[in-house]
């Protein structure tokens, strides 16, 4: 008798989902009840500026967007080298999830900027390059949706995924290369630059960073599984249509 084990990936996905929800809830507690607001005014926002709390979700959203696009880059290179469908599915899933988080960066940023800068948007280097990054990957998803041959789509999309990633370092270092309104935090290049955050604020920030990484991994796994399910339907429908053609060849006109 052939028995089947419970789907292990479903269990792993469940655990990942619960871990994401718990960490996200914990990060909200730290952000709203533990982290202190800056004692100095933030631009037009008088101290204590509540808008500072947006930073705790804005920066992790940017980090996971970068992570998503880095996965698109790696999976696209692997797909072009091996031609394996699984890399193409991973690249597609990572691009979609990356676009969701990049959209959040572009939404939460202007919401923070309005009370602090006095304007929703400035065409400065960081904001403009992030917008171009978002447009690139939205274009990538449109390209995938508009072409019908899976093999050709995979190769074309892989090229866009590789070229599009070149903008990520430009976005990240734009605050150091050009004069921008956007605040520049500490980076591997400028380790001496202080984040201005105390222990309680760093706890809230890193918990949010872990929470966003877990949520990203969960969504990526779900989306990759969706791609595999879609492939299984396509294969099934192709097999059915081939069987139909074999059984009644006169029906086929093309």
């Amino acid at each position: 008798m052939v028995t089947t084990t419970p789907d292990r990936s479903t269990r792993t996905l469940g655990i990942l989902g619960i871990a994401s929800a718990v960490t996200l809830a914990l990060s909200l507690i730290f952000i709203f009840f533990v982290a202190r607001l800056p004692s100095e005014p933030q631009g037009f926002c008088a101290a204590p500026c509540a808008a500072h709390r947006i930073f705790y979700f804005h920066v992790p959203a940017a980090w996971v967007a970068y992570l998503g696009f880095a996965i698109v880059f790696i999976a696209s290179v692997a797909h072009l080298r091996t031609g394996a469908r699984r890399w193409d599915l991973l690249a597609h899933a990572a691009a979609e999830v990356g676009v969701v988080f990049c959209s959040l960066v572009l939404i939460t940023g202007p919401i923070w900027a309005r009370p602090v800068w006095g304007t929703w948007w400035q065409w400065d280097a960081r904001l403009t390059s992030t917008f171009v990054l978002w447009l690139t990957y939205v274009g990538y998803l449109f390209l995938r949706a508009l072409t019908t041959d899976p093999a050709r789509t995979g190769r074309l999309a892989a090229v866009v995924g590789i070229v599009g990633f070149l903008n990520v370092p430009i976005v990240h270092f734009s605050v150091q290369w050009w004069r921008t309104l956007h605040p520049a935090g500490p980076s591997p290049v400028f380790l001496d630059r202080s984040s201005g955050l105390g222990g309680q604020e760093l706890l809230a920030f890193f918990t949010a960073l872990i929470a966003f990484t877990l949520v990203f991994s969960w969504l990526l796994s779900l989306r990759t599984r969706l791609g595999r399910l879609s492939d299984s339907v396509l294969a099934q429908e192709l097999a059915e249509s081939a069987a139909l053609r074999r059984s009644s060849p006169e029906v086929v006109t093309t």
């Binding site: 052939v2 084990t5 292990r8 500026c49 808008a51 969701v100 939404i107 919401i111 399910l229 099934q236």
Partner: protein, 44 residues
């Protein structure tokens, strides 16, 4: 927009975006399953 309104808007947008995307995945998965989609299961 006051700082407090900005915080509410920002956190609400994060919740709506992640929740909305998750719902879209679940709906698409349900539709595929209705069309007979199956992931290969490991046999003992």
């Amino acid at each position: 927009v006051s700082a407090l309104t900005a915080v509410v808007l920002a956190y609400a947008s994060v919740g709506i975006a992640i929740g909305g995307y998750l719902t879209s995945i679940v709906i698409r998965q349900k539709r595929l399953r209705e069309r007979g989609a199956e992931l290969p299961r490991r046999a003992n």
